[in-house]
């Protein structure tokens, strides 16, 4: 097992294109860290720099306190699972698993013991003598995982290993990976652009954009306290509603105001937001913070908001209502309500907003205004 530390790690291609900039990050021994971000955000490049498959332009990479920048990937004792699995097509599954062990000159009996153990764990025993081309996508994925596990490396690097699987298999493998991490207690870094994977799998998630780390934290902490509008808009489906508005001081109380929405801010936040009183801001409202009854809208009882329903998406356990504030002309927002009540397009409904969950962002920097952290519970 290993702790991995990145200090001001930067990757520049041809001295011009900066793929990763100044990444400072520590991944603890045995931690499950998820790198999350849209395509081209630098998450895979960061992972490949840790693996040694990309050179680090500047900064330091430390594994267990030892600088590894110039250590060959073959000597780092890390295992990687690639998105396309990268199974050796000319070898059987057994040979694929044994390849790394043979290179380390392990004894035959030990190789056989490890392969037996891993194939039993992953259920790939019956396919040991098959070639990768004869396996389904899910089976290849398991073999790729097995090839990483069988080596018992210091840490596992997973480069979008689930993205080629269909939705059902992806959900199954997600659970299996979580269980596996719990069982092995190994350091794992998982790269994904899928926020559901990130939320469900990571002990911590590191959100990246344009080669920079935007926010690092426990999934629910990040979810509840997004650092900026990018994180707020990236996590969850539907994402946070971001509305242009302003903060108004009135009667000794601060209000977040946008068309058709006027919310008195909880006193605990007022102090933190005071510097922006009277200024333009971006107001962030999570869809699930709208409730059908006031008793569920937090201790403060919720703010009644009247909306005109524009679209109804009944998902089964919940319903996503797209609705506009201030009649049809107002800004449209997404809300998530319990399944059970039927809504009609064009009807007016009153939902209750949990004001303690409101987010306010600076217009220019798009960063969240500092406020007391909302605990993930």
């Amino acid at each position: 097992m290993a702790a991995i530390e990145l200090r001001a790690v930067t990757k520049t291609y041809a001295n011009v294109v900066s793929a990763v900039r100044n990444v400072d990050l520590t991944i603890g021994d045995g931690e499950f860290m998820v790198f999350l971000g849209p395509s081209g955000c630098g998450k895979s490049t960061t992972l490949r720099m840790i693996a040694g498959l990309e050179d680090i332009t500047s900064g330091d990479l430390l594994i267990d306190g030892v600088r590894m920048n110039d250590v060959d990937p073959s000597k780092r004792d890390l295992a990687i699972v690639f998105q396309n699995y990268a199974l050796y097509p000319h070898m059987s599954v057994r040979e694929n698993l044994a390849f790394g062990l043979k290179l380390r000159h392990l004894e035959r009996a030990e190789i056989a013991r490890r392969i037996d153990g891993i194939s039993a764990m992953l259920g790939i025993g019956p396919m040991l003598d098959r070639r990768p081309a004869q396996l389904s996508g899910g089976q290849r994925q398991r073999v790729a995982l097995g090839r990483a596990l069988v080596r018992e490396p210091k840490a596992f690097l997973l480069d979008e290993p689930l993205s080629n699987l269909d939705a059902k298999l992806r959900a199954t493998m997600r659970t299996e990976l979580i269980k596996l991490h719990r069982r092995l207690g190994a350091t794992m870094i998982h790269v994904t652009h899928d926020q559901v994977e990130a939320m469900t799998m990571g002990e911590r998630i590191c959100i990246m954009r344009d080669g920079e780390v935007v926010q690092v934290g426990r999934p629910l902490d990040v979810y509840r306290n997004p650092a900026d509008t990018f994180v707020a808009g990236f996590l969850a489906t539907p994402p946070m509603n971001l509305l242009p508005g302003r903060l108004e001081a009135e009667g000794g109380q601060l209000h977040a105001v946008t068309d058709g929405f006027r919310c008195a801010l909880p006193r605990a936040y007022a102090e933190a937001y005071a510097s922006h009183a009277g200024r333009e801001v971006i107001i962030g409202l999570r869809p699930e913070d709208f409730h059908e009854t006031p008793d569920r809208a937090g201790a403060l009882g919720g703010l009644p908001v009247t909306l005109t329903v524009t679209t109804v998406e009944a998902l089964g356990p919940e319903t996503v209502l797209m609705a506009s504030l201030m009649g049809e002309a107002g800004p449209e927002i997404a809300t998530r309500v319990d399944f059970g009540r039927e809504y009609e397009v064009g009807s007016r409904v009153t939902l209750h907003y949990d004001t303690a969950q409101i987010h306010v962002f600076d217009v220019e920097t798009t960063k969240a205004l500092a406020r007391p952290l909302v605990s993930a519970g």
Partner: protein
């Protein structure tokens, strides 16, 4: 155009083009099985068929020597070029060694009429190697074929093969081990196709073999050309010898096609 008519036109065009390729071979086959007098008759006659010309090729000319020289030279030239071409292609695919100027130079050298290079090459050989020897022809063929084979193989080392090697490196393989144990076997069909093509090019090569050989090191194309004399062309034995010379190429072509197609779909494991 109705469907049947369209099919008819399509088939007619295909048959015409196939005939352009096959008919000369059939003609040579006919000539090789008849005597000299029947061979020249128009309209063509089949006449009495026999294998006499094939026997005469071996009896009257050093055909076995030419054939042996051709096999030896083509095999050696291929065996020497293939590993170097493989490494050159790998280096170009992985590290962009030489960049595009290298490949422009390679292609440009292929565009030069071979005759331009023959005399300089002859002069070079004259000072360092025994000309009129098999080894001189082998080296000349390596020099001609190697860049072309490397150029052909570059694409086989690009694409998925790169991530396989990265997987091997992570598994603990050095770059050389990853090359030998992963990249080469995965690109195997492509390498084989390039090797077969190199063999065929060397087998058919005439100009360098003509300039650099003497009577003991003549290859088949040079020997066959020698059958055309001032006294005329001994057409029937020449036809027999031509077919015998074609035989190895005809045998290898289906393999070349198979491996070339396999090579093009290398590592396509999605």
């Amino acid at each position: 155009m109705p469907h049947t008519l369209r099919t008819f036109v399509r088939h007619a065009i295909l048959i015409a083009f196939s005939a352009m390729i096959v008919l000369p071979l059939v003609w040579v086959l006919r000539v090789s099985l008849t005597d000299k007098l029947t061979a020249y008759k128009i309209p063509p006659e089949i006449g009495h068929l026999s294998l006499d010309n094939y026997i005469e090729v071996f009896r009257s000319f050093p055909f076995a020597l030419w054939f042996g020289n051709s096999v030896l030279i083509a095999v050696l030239a291929t065996l020497i070029s293939l590993p170097f071409a493989t490494m050159m292609a790998y280096a170009a695919a992985r590290f962009r060694t030489g960049g595009s100027p290298l490949w422009i130079a390679v292609l440009a050298s292929q565009m030069l009429p071979p005759i331009i290079l023959v005399l300089p090459l002859f002069m070079v050989f004259l000072s360092v190697l025994p000309v009129d020897s098999r080894i001189a022809i082998v080296i000349a063929h390596v020099a001609i074929n190697l860049p072309f084979m490397a150029w052909m193989m570059v694409s086989f080392f690009e694409g998925d093969s790169r991530s396989l090697e990265e997987a091997a490196r992570m598994d603990g393989a050095t770059r050389w081990q990853a090359f030998i144990r992963i990249a080469v076997p995965v690109a195997g069909p492509g390498i084989l196709a390039a090797g077969l093509l190199g063999f065929i090019l060397s087998w058919n090569e005439f100009l360098y073999a003509l300039i650099l050989s003497d009577s003991s090191s003549q290859t088949l194309p040079v020997g066959l050309a020698g059958l055309e004399t001032h006294a005329g062309v001994d057409i029937a034995p020449l036809a027999a010898a031509t077919l015998l010379a074609l035989a190895p190429v005809l045998i290898l072509l289906p393999f070349l096609r198979k491996y070339l197609i396999k090579g093009l779909s290398l590592g396509a494991l999605k």
